[in-house]
């Protein structure tokens, strides 16, 4: 019985506590500040974006020749003022040699692997796959020139733009230029980043 009394006593205490607890009154929304949608004025931002877009498009369109070095290629800086011209592009990075964005030979420690050299001779200046790729380009350009004899800008001039990493050794550079010379490309243009004020 004592247990039951105790139990009923406890129950009654809990019941009193429950009845004493009162939920907080619901918040009343003041009539003075009703919900209003915030209206963001986007017009200045739109004007700004339009100006930026126009400037970028102008910059994009005024450069007929796009030179985009690969991410692992760091071009040297120079005070030259000459703009790039349309030409066959040879990129020399620390890993590969590319002709118009297609890889032709691999580079290791600043040297072309001997398998790409003439007779597999590491001392040779002649890079065989580079020569073949450039020879194809020369043939294409000559064919275009043949059917466009009146248009001077389409005549074959043997122009090559060299996009080389600034850490490339002179030996590798001369090997590429020598091979280009063998494929009838005798005028070179070194791509550089123009410094301020040039």
């Amino acid at each position: 019985m004592a247990v039951a009394d105790t139990a009923t006593g406890q129950d009654s205490t809990a019941g009193q506590q429950q009845t004493n607890w009162q939920a907080p009154p619901p918040r009343k929304r003041h009539k003075s500040d009703p919900y209003r949608p915030v209206h963001l004025n986007m017009l200045p931002m739109m004007a700004l974006f339009t100006v930026v877009l126009c400037a970028l498009l102008k910059d994009y369109s005024s450069d007929p020749v796009q030179i985009s070095p690969s991410p692992d290629t760091r071009l040297p800086h120079s005070n030259t003022k000459l703009p790039p011209q349309k030409a066959v592009q040879i990129a020399i990075s620390r890993r590969a040699i590319m002709v118009d964005n297609s890889k032709v030979a691999e580079v290791e420690s600043g040297r072309v692997k001997p398998v790409y050299k003439k007779d597999n001779n590491p001392q040779s200046m002649f890079i065989v796959p580079l020569f073949e790729a450039l020879r194809k380009k020369a043939d294409q350009e000559k064919l275009i020139a043949k059917y466009n004899k009146r248009r001077r800008e389409l005549q074959f001039k043997g122009l090559v733009t060299v996009i080389a990493d600034k850490r490339v050794p002179f030996r590798l550079l001369t090997e590429v230029l020598y091979t280009a010379g063998q494929a009838e490309f005798g005028q070179y243009k070194f791509a550089v980043i123009k410094t301020q004020g040039s």
Partner: protein, 197 residues
């Protein structure tokens, strides 16, 4: 008779809210695309370089030229080595006596030696390895080239050679400092000569 006012005049006073969000989307996408795909922020230029060409041996030796023309021919040559920069012309190497020129093959001092105030330069010199770009005294190179230009104002051709492991960056800097100074053209007709060992 007075006409009834038009209903259109009342409706025209209502504000029209233009939805510019789709336009903003397009413009933002275009700006992002152009910024990420173009190298427009980098101003890329080019340097003209020629390869040496084979020519008539008589012409090369200057046999069919008048003595005056032969005298004027300079053939300015700049060599970039691990020890410094050599400047030479038809007459000989600049800043060296005849005995020094003869001794050059044994390792005589270059016209413009490397700067030795930097430990990296001294280290490169001692080990005979390619020194960093900062070790070359480019200001002095320009001063020497200006002196030569004063003597040969009509000459524009310069031959440049380098040792095998000289970085391309050094070559470009040498071309920069011999091409132009303060708006005055110096030697801009660059001919690259195959390496020396």
């Amino acid at each position: 008779m007075v006409q009834k006012p038009s209903e259109r005049s009342k409706s025209a006073t209502e504000a029209v809210d233009l939805d510019i969000v789709p336009y903003m989307d397009i413009v933002f996408s275009l700006v992002a695309f152009i910024l990420f795909t173009s190298t427009g922020l980098l101003q890329i230029g080019v340097i003209n370089v020629n390869a040496p060409r084979y020519q008539d041996p008589l012409a090369a030796a200057g046999m069919n030229k008048t003595p005056e023309e032969q005298k004027k021919q300079l053939n300015l040559t700049v060599g970039i080595t691990y020890k410094g920069i050599f400047i030479a012309g038809v007459g000989g190497v600049l800043g060296q006596t005849e005995e020094e020129e003869q001794a050059q093959e044994k390792g005589a001092a270059p016209t413009i030696p490397l700067k030795t105030d930097d430990p990296a330069c001294r280290d490169a010199l001692a080990k005979n390895i390619p020194p960093p770009l900062s070790c070359y005294d480019m200001i002095k190179l320009t001063q020497e080239v200006v002196k030569i230009k004063n003597e040969f104002p009509d000459e524009t051709r310069i031959f440049i050679y380098a040792q095998p492991d000289i970085p391309y960056e050094v070559l470009v800097k040498v071309m920069d400092f011999t091409r132009q100074v303060e708006g005055r053209n110096l030697f801009y007709d660059v001919v690259l000569v195959p390496e020396i060992s």
